[in-house]
């Protein structure tokens, strides 16, 4: 079976404005994600996580290498079509929610559908089951400034899911949440994934990563290691990830 997302030999070099300094953010990244998977990508600050996610989200272009989503090369999509492609195929969840404060919760969720030109009846049909699942039905008519961080993030998840995307990209989704909201959100991600939604999450929270079925570790711009959960419990997975991270920062450092 063809993987849903295929990343091949991704390389990204940032050049300073006057071309003086080159910073290699991604050296050679390759991995693939099958449909229905729940993958976490871990790494320290500066390991290239964000660069990778930006490229996967088609917000940035790689220096070389390919990103295939359902066999379609995202790096080759023309600029004018990229927004529509992103809207139809990828759902985003951000650390700082990125809700527009002049829209109600409901309108924030509708935003991608409105952009896609869907009619109002269909939007209403789609939002009903989703909002119930995410527990935000009561706050649909409120505004972002009136609800809690956890509710904001669930709104963002709802907005990501409402287009039925092929894959959800989450960038530190628990970064701005308290521990209770974090638990709720991770539980939610697990449930969504069980329903068949593919999720790719970038994080450096061990707890968040421990909920994924597979964890990729990035260091110095390459995929360094990966572990599968198999039949481990969350706690066992948590331990495994911690050990791996310790190994990465101590033993893995060639110059130490």
């Amino acid at each position: 079976m063809m993987p849903l997302l295929e990343v091949k030999n991704l390389k990204k070099i940032y050049t300073t404005r006057f071309g003086g300094n080159h910073v290699q953010a991604l050296t050679d990244v390759s991995f693939s994600v099958d449909a229905g998977e729940y993958v976490s990508i871990m790494g320290e600050s500066g390991s290239g996580k964000t660069t990778l996610l930006n490229i996967l989200a088609a917000l940035d272009k790689p220096t070389s290498g390919d990103v295939l989503l359902s066999g379609k090369d995202m790096t080759k999509i023309k600029d004018k079509d990229i927004s529509a492609f992103r809207r139809d195929n990828i759902g985003f969840v951000f650390q700082d929610f990125n809700l527009l404060d002049n829209f109600s919760i409901k309108d924030n969720i509708f935003l991608p559908l409105v952009l896609a030109g869907k009619n109002y009846k269909e939007m209403e049909q789609r939002i009903k089951p989703l909002s119930e699942k995410l527990g935000i039905t009561d706050i649909l008519n409120k505004y972002p400034y009136e609800v809690s961080g956890g509710q904001k993030q669930r709104t963002a998840v709802c907005r990501a899911l409402i287009t039925n995307p092929q894959i959800i990209l989450a960038d530190e989704p628990t970064g701005a949440l308290d521990s209770k909201s974090t638990d709720q959100l991770l539980h939610l991600f697990g449930k969504i994934n069980e329903d068949g939604q593919t999720i790719l999450m970038v994080t450096h929270s061990v707890k968040a990563a421990s909920h994924a079925k597979r964890v990729l570790f990035i260091k110095d711009g390459v995929v360094y290691h990966q572990i599968y959960r198999g039949n481990c419990s969350y706690d066992e997975m948590y331990q495994k990830i911690s050990d791996t991270l310790t190994l990465l920062t101590t033993g893995g450092d060639k110059n130490a």
């Binding site: 004018k80 529509a84 809207r87 985003f92 990125n98 002049n102 109600s104 991608p112 939007m123 400034y145």
Partner: protein, 669 residues
């Protein structure tokens, strides 16, 4: 704290915030220069010796007051904007351990620098431009241009005092603001959650009502006197309406639009409507200010421009010939006025001065004030003019033919009639004391030539009657009612010659001296108007008005520009974050840019559009007011209004375009 730190820190602040400070300092310079120039002209003794200078002095005095008030309001406004933007920075100083009195110290130094640069720069500009402005003014006034370059110490003193006080006041405002503020609040102030604007139905209703009332007044006011008294009420209503329109009505309308789900959830409207709601909430008052300032500029410039361009026409109406003698005749006198002898005498005087008469026309009219009824006029006026009253003017058909060339054949009880208010009547009854006249209106005239020195201030009915018999009967009638206060018959001659202006004036003086002689019989007064003298006065007035209109228009324009600039900048900073989010959610960059620039376009051109509507409604009222100045050329006024609107729109557009670039720079940074 070290002594030299405050001044250098203050200087750094000004330089770092130059995006906000530069326009502010430029405003200070502009207003100081404007204030100095008007002051200098008002106190220039050379100007005051010229003919018509009294009018000019009055205008300049008006200008000083308006510019003074304007400067206070406007500088306070821009300062408040400046401080809002800088709250975070000042809070940071506070957090980093600076005490409030230290911040106050820095603010004092900043104000000192602004005052020094602004006032000195303004005075310099003012002194340099003074000469240029004087030249322009004299050109408008048709004065001879004096030589020399003067610096007015009076004006310098006045400017320094006024603007130092204004800056001290703004400083006090800022210091009080700092004292009250808590640093945490200051830091958070700009990131506070955006509350959705509420629909203020009552305010919206008030707005609709006062706009409607203002417009209704403007459209229905019939007479010029009434227009003059009611003008400020109309202006006041429209100003209130404008504020409500931008703050409440706009939001009510947008919210109603949002209720329409089918319409709202379309890409085009979804972002547009919610974006506009957000923008209107933040900018409503600023936009209302822009709108009102623009309306003021438009009305002022178009009004004064048409006044100035219509000066020739005004002079024509007021003084249709080079020399215009007018005599009030007491027709009951046995030793009546002998027209033919008078004409001979006048002709002699002109010939004696080596002149030749190129045109000579004369006519007699009767004019008196009467109370107004449904389709009659009466002379039972109580003390004062409490009743609805009008002015009646009668002329014989022979004289009417002489003036207009129109042949008529009227019977005793037939008239030709012209009146704004009695257009649909077929009969007119005139009750004057012991006599009652019933006239049948043969024809309603479309216009009527100017008669003597009658003005169109009050509602006037002009009637052409059969002959002097009727005229005299009417005279007797009103005499029996008014007694001592009755009007006399007026005899007017319109004389054109081939003489030079100075000689015309000399002839007029000599004609005026005829009143000393006995040959004319009984008369109440002899008044000799000359075109030459009148035209100097008229140009002094209308030129002074135009100058003031242009000068204030320029100043108000500057204010508008500055508000737009500041608005654009603040919009830019606020839109930056929204821009990024929308892009991440999947809105193409181009579309965002398109939609946002569309919104901004609406936001900035709405005030202009509303101003244009205000001006359109004001037009009728303005025409009425201009008629007080003998200006009746509506086409000219219309042209001037359109021209001003067009010119203003172009300037506005250029300013928008220039500031929009700053906006995009901020957004895409």
């Amino acid at each position: 704290m070290r002594k030299g730190l405050f001044p250098s820190l203050a200087w750094q602040n000004i330089r770092k915030n130059s995006k906000f400070y530069l326009p502010y300092i430029l405003t200070v310079i502009g207003t100081v220069a404007g204030f100095y120039i008007v002051n200098a002209i008002a106190s220039d003794e050379g100007v005051l010796r010229l003919r018509g200078a009294a009018y000019v002095k009055l205008m300049m005095f008006l200008g000083i007051i308006i510019i003074g008030i304007f400067s206070v309001i406007f500088l306070l406004y821009t300062n408040s904007f400046l401080m809002k933007r800088r709250k975070k920075e000042l809070a940071l100083y506070n957090m980093l351990g600076m005490e409030k009195r230290h911040i106050a110290g820095i603010l004092c130094y900043e104000s000192l620098y602004v005052a020094l640069i602004g006032i000195a720069g303004g005075l310099l500009c003012g002194i340099l431009l003074h000469k240029l402005v004087t030249l322009a003014l004299f050109k408008l006034l048709r004065f001879d241009v004096p030589f020399g370059f003067t610096i007015s110490t009076v004006a310098i003193k006045a400017s320094v005092i006024l603007f130092t006080s204004i800056i001290v006041i703004t400083l006090l405002f800022n210091l009080v603001g700092i004292r009250r503020a808590k640093p945490i609040e200051l830091l958070k102030s700009s990131s506070a959650g955006e509350r959705e604007p509420k629909s203020k139905w009552i305010l919206a209703l008030i707005g609709v009502l006062s706009l409607g009332a203002g417009y209704y007044i403007a459209l229905t006011t019939k007479s010029a006197i009434r227009a003059l008294t009611i003008y400020f009420l109309a202006v006041f209503l429209v100003i209130i309406g404008t504020y409500c329109l931008f703050t409440a009505i706009s939001i009510v309308v947008l919210k109603q639009l949002r209720r329409n789900k089918k319409l709202y959830y379309k890409t085009k409207y979804f972002i547009g409507i919610s974006g506009m709601l957000y923008r209107m909430k933040r900018n409503a008052v600023g936009l209302a200010n822009i709108c009102i300032l623009s309306t003021m500029v438009l009305v002022m410039v178009s009004g004064t421009l048409s006044l100035y361009l219509g000066t020739e026409d005004m002079i024509d109406r007021f003084c249709p010939g080079q020399i215009v003698p007018q005599i009030t005749i007491n027709s009951e006198s046995k030793n009546g006025f002998q027209k033919d002898i008078m004409i001979e005498k006048i002709k002699d005087i002109i010939e004696k001065n080596d002149g030749k008469i190129t045109q000579f026309e004369d006519y007699t009219y009767l004019a008196f004030v009467a109370g107004k009824g449904e389709n009659y006029y009466h002379t039972n006026i109580e003390n004062g003019f409490n009743a609805d009253f009008a002015q009646l003017c009668f002329i014989t058909q022979e004289d009417f033919r002489k003036v207009t060339g129109k042949e008529t054949n009227l019977e005793e009880n037939e008239i030709l009639f012209f009146s704004d208010t009695m257009k649909d009547k077929e009969n007119i009854r005139i009750e004057t004391g012991d006599y009652t006249f019933d006239f049948t209106i043969v024809e309603h005239l479309k216009s009527f030539p100017s008669v003597g020195n009658l003005t169109a201030i009050v509602d006037t009915g002009y009637a052409v009657v059969k002959d002097e018999q009727v005229l005299r009967a009417l005279y007797k009638g009103q005499k029996s009612a008014y007694g001592e206060k009755a009007s006399g018959l007026e005899w007017v001659a319109i004389i054109d010659t081939d003489l030079k202006e100075d000689d015309q004036i000399k002839c007029a003086r000599e004609i005026g001296n005829l009143s000393q002689e006995d040959v004319m019989g009984d008369y109440k007064g002899l008044l000799v108007n000359t075109r030459a003298e009148n035209s100097a006065d008229f140009y002094a007035t209308s030129g002074g008005f135009l100058f003031l209109g242009l000068f204030l228009g320029f100043l108000f324009n500057m204010a508008t520009v500055l508000i737009i600039y500041y608005k654009q900048i603040s919009e830019g900073y606020e839109d930056k974050a929204r821009f990024e989010i929308m892009q991440k959610v999947g809105l193409p960059k181009k579309e965002i840019r398109c939609s946002v620039s569309m919104q901004i376009l609406i936001v900035f051109f709405a005030p202009l559009a509303v101003a244009a509507i205000h001006v359109a409604f004001d037009f009728k009222l303005m025409v009425k007011l201009l008629s007080l100045f003998y200006l009746t050329d509506n086409r000219l006024t219309m042209l001037c209004t359109f021209g001003t609107l067009l010119g203003f729109a172009v300037i506005y557009g250029i300013v928008y375009w220039l500031t929009a670039r700053t906006y995009y720079k901020i957004v895409s940074a």
